[in-house]
Amino acid sequence: MQNDRKITMSQAIGEATLEAMKKDDTIFVIGEGVTDPKKIFGTTSELVEKFGIDRVIESPIAENGLMGFCIGSALSGMRPLLIHQRVEFALLSMEQIINNAAKMHYISNGKHNVPVVVRLIVGRGWGQGPAHSQSLEPLFAYIPGLRVAMPAFASDAKGMMLTALSENIPTIFIEHRWCHYVTGKVDSDTSNVLLDGPSVVRSGSDITIVATSYMLYEAILASDIAKEFNIFIEIVDLRIIKPLKLEKIVESVSKTKRLICVDTGFKEYGLGAEISASIFEALFKDLLKPVKRIGLPDRPTPSSRFLAADYYPTAENILNEIGKLMDFNSHKVEQMIEMLKIKKPDINADVPNPLFKGPF
C-alpha cells in the first residue's frame, strides 16, 4: 500500500529535510523565507513548527554572508541547509561557494569538511524574465570540489536530499520549479540513494538521450512518440552533474551509437558540450552520427511570452533531432510532430505542461 503513495517533488524534498533533521540534530535550515507562510514552495512546511526558530533560521537579505555563515558553521560541526528561492540569488553567494566551500577540504589536506547543502530553484514561466529564470548549473559544475545534483523525479529527489545531508561534501542541489509540481511514487521509507552519477530511466537501442531535470519530461514525451515510429530511445537521467561520471553514458552510447544531450540551461558551453566532447573522446569511431545538443539559445530569458515561445526547447525540438539521427524524411518527422500535438495540448510556453503530472 505504502509503495503506491504519490507525492510531488516539492513534498518529497520537504519530507527528506524533515526526516534528516529528526535523525541528526546538527542539521539546520537557513534562508530568506524559510519560515514564511509560503514555506519555500511548500518544501519547508512544518519544519519551524517541529524544530523551532533555532534550527529553521529566518534571515535578513544577505546571500553573501549567509553562505559564509553556513561554511563557518559547517567547519565547526554543523550541517547547514541553505535555501535560495532562485538560482540568481546564489550569484551573491558565489565567492564563498567557489573560494571556500569547494576548496576547503582539498586545501586543508583533507582535514576540514564543509557539509553544506545549498538548494537553488530554477524559475520558469509567467514572464519572470531575465533575472529570475536562469538555469546556471554549468557555473557550479565548472568548479572542482563541488557536488552538483539536479533531481527530476520525486523519489530520487528525496533519496538524494537524504544522502546530501548525511555526507561531508558541499552540494549544490538544483531544483527546476516545474519539477516541483510533478508527482511520483515515493515510498514513505525511502532512504538514501547513492549520489554516484547518471541512471538509465528508459532502455532503448537506437538513440541515447542524456537529459537533466525538467527536460527529462520532454525527453520521455518525445521517446513515447518515437516508439510509435519504431525508434527506441534510451534515456539517461544525468542526476549528478558534478563530479561527472561518464561510465553509464559511454555504456549506453556504445550500444545505441547515437546521442542527443538535452539541457535546461544554455546550449553554448552547457552540460551537453562537456558530455558530447567526452563521448567523442571515448567513442569517436563507434558513433554513427554527430552528437546533437539541445539547450537554450544564446540570449537572456525574455519576459514576454511571445518571445519565450521560441526560447524553451520542447519535445518537438527533440523529435526533430531524432528525425535527423534516424535519417527520417521530412514527412515522417511531420507525422511525429503531429502525433505530439495531438498528445500535448497547445498551451502557452509560460505555464507548466499539465501533461507532466506523473506518476513517474
Binding site: D36, G127, G129, A131
Partner: protein, 322 residues
C-alpha cells in the same frame, strides 16, 4: 496660490499612480499581463514627494517595486502598460516585464529585480556627474530588505568618501516579502546605517506627502550645496501582497494593529482630507480629476491590447551593441 497649485499637482500624481495600480490589479485576472507585478499601492507619497524636487536631468533607479517611481518621474504610461503585457511598444519591447521599467527621456535609467543590485549603479551615475562636473543628482529607491545586502554598505561608504551626489531613498514598508523587519534588524531606525558612514539623513513619515516633500527639499539641497550623499528613510506600508494583485492579510503574517494603522495612514486619504479641509479641493473636483485619469488609463490599456507582439525574429537582436 502657486503652492496650492503644487499641492493639487502632487495629489493628482499620487491618485494617478493609485488608479493605474488598481487598474492593473483589477485586470490581472484576465491573464493578459503575464509577469510578476509588485504594486506600489500605499507607497505613492514616497515616490511623488521625492520626485517633486528632481528635474528631468536628475536620474533615478528603482527596484522590482518600480511602478510608482516610474510614473512619478514622468515615465511613459503606454510604454509601461505595454511592457507588462509583453508587447512590442513596452519600454523593454517586452523583454523585461514589470520589474525592469525604464524611460531614458524621463531620467529613469533602470529598475532591477535582484534585491540591492541597483544601489551601486546609482552611485556610479553620481560618480559620472562628479567626474563630468554636472550638477544633477542620482537617486536610488530601495526597500528595507535591500539595505541589508552587503552592497548597500559598500555603496554608502564609497559615495561618502568620494563626495558623490546621490540620494539613497529607503522605503521602509516593514517587510521583505513576508518577513518582518523585527526578525531582521535590531530596530526600525535604518538611518543608523547612514549615520555610521557619515551620511546626513532624515527619517520621516513616508505616508505624508508634505513631510516627504520637506525632507526631500532638504536632502536635494544638501546634495547640491555640499556635494555629498544624503539618505532618507521613508516609513510606509504596502497595502497588497508582496507580488500580485490581491490583498493577503488572510495569511496572518502582519499584525492586526499594524494593518489597521497601515490602512488608516493611506497617503492618499490623508492628503485628500487635508486638501478638502483647507478648501483647496472638493469632492466634485476630485471626482473630475479621477475621471480624467481613468480615461487616460483606459486608453493605455487599449493601446497595450492593440499593440503588436514582439516578433519572434526580433528576439535575437541587441545581444551585443553595434
Amino acid at each position: 496660490m502657486d503652492s496650492n497649485k503644487d499641492e493639487i499637482i502632487d495629489f493628482e500624481k499620487m491618485i494617478r499612480i493609485r488608479l493605474i495600480e488598481e487598474a492593473i490589479a483589477e485586470k490581472y485576472s484576465d491573464q493578459e499581463m503575464r509577469c510578476p507585478v509588485h504594486l506600489s499601492i500605499g507607497q505613492e507619497a514616497a515616490a511623488v514627494g521625492v520626485m517633486s524636487f528632481l528635474n528631468k536631468e536628475d536620474k533615478i533607479y528603482s527596484t522590482h517595486r518600480c511602478h510608482a517611481h516610474y510614473l512619478a518621474k514622468g515615465g511613459n504610461l503606454n510604454a509601461m502598460i505595454s511592457e507588462i503585457h509583453g508587447k512590442v511598444s513596452g519600454c523593454c519591447g517586452g523583454r523585461g516585464g514589470s520589474m525592469h521599467l525604464f524611460d531614458d527621456d524621463a531620467g529613469i535609467i533602470a529598475s532591477l529585480p535582484i534585491v540591492g543590485s541597483v544601489i551601486p549603479l546609482a552611485v556610479g551615475s553620481a560618480l559620472t556627474f562628479k567626474l563630468k562636473k554636472m550638477h544633477n543628482i542620482s537617486v536610488v529607491f530601495f526597500g528595507d530588505g535591500a539595505i541589508e545586502e552587503g552592497v548597500y554598505h559598500e555603496s554608502a561608504n564609497f559615495a561618502k568618501i568620494h563626495n558623490l551626489p546621490v540620494l539613497f531613498v529607503c522605503e521602509n514598508n516593514l517587510y521583505s516579502v513576508y518577513t518582518p523587519l523585527k526578525f531582521r534588524q535590531p530596530n526600525n531606525d535604518l538611518t543608523r546605517l547612514a549615520t555610521s558612514y557619515g551620511i546626513e539623513n532624515i527619517r520621516c513619515d513616508g505616508n505624508n506627502i508634505k513631510k516627504v516633500k520637506s525632507a526631500s527639499e532638504i536632502a536635494t539641497k544638501h546634495i547640491k550645496d555640499k556635494k555629498e550623499p544624503f539618505f532618507l528613510q521613508l516609513d510606509t506600508f504596502r497595502h497588497r501582497e508582496h507580488c500580485g494583485p490581491n490583498f493577503d492579510d488572510d495569511l496572518g503574517y502582519r499584525e492586526e494593529d499594524e494593518i489597521k494603522i497601515g490602512f488608516i495612514n493611506d497617503p492618499i486619504l490623508i492628503e485628500k482630507d487635508r486638501l478638502i479641509k483647507k478648501g483647496i479641493l472638493d469632492k466634485n473636483k476630485i471626482l473630475k480629476i479621477e475621471n480624467n485619469i481613468k480615461i487616460e488609463i483606459e486608453k493605455a490599456f487599449t493601446f497595450a491590447k492593440q499593440d503588436d507582439f514582439p516578433s519572434r525574429a526580433s528576439a535575437e537582436e541587441h545581444l551585443y551593441a553595434k
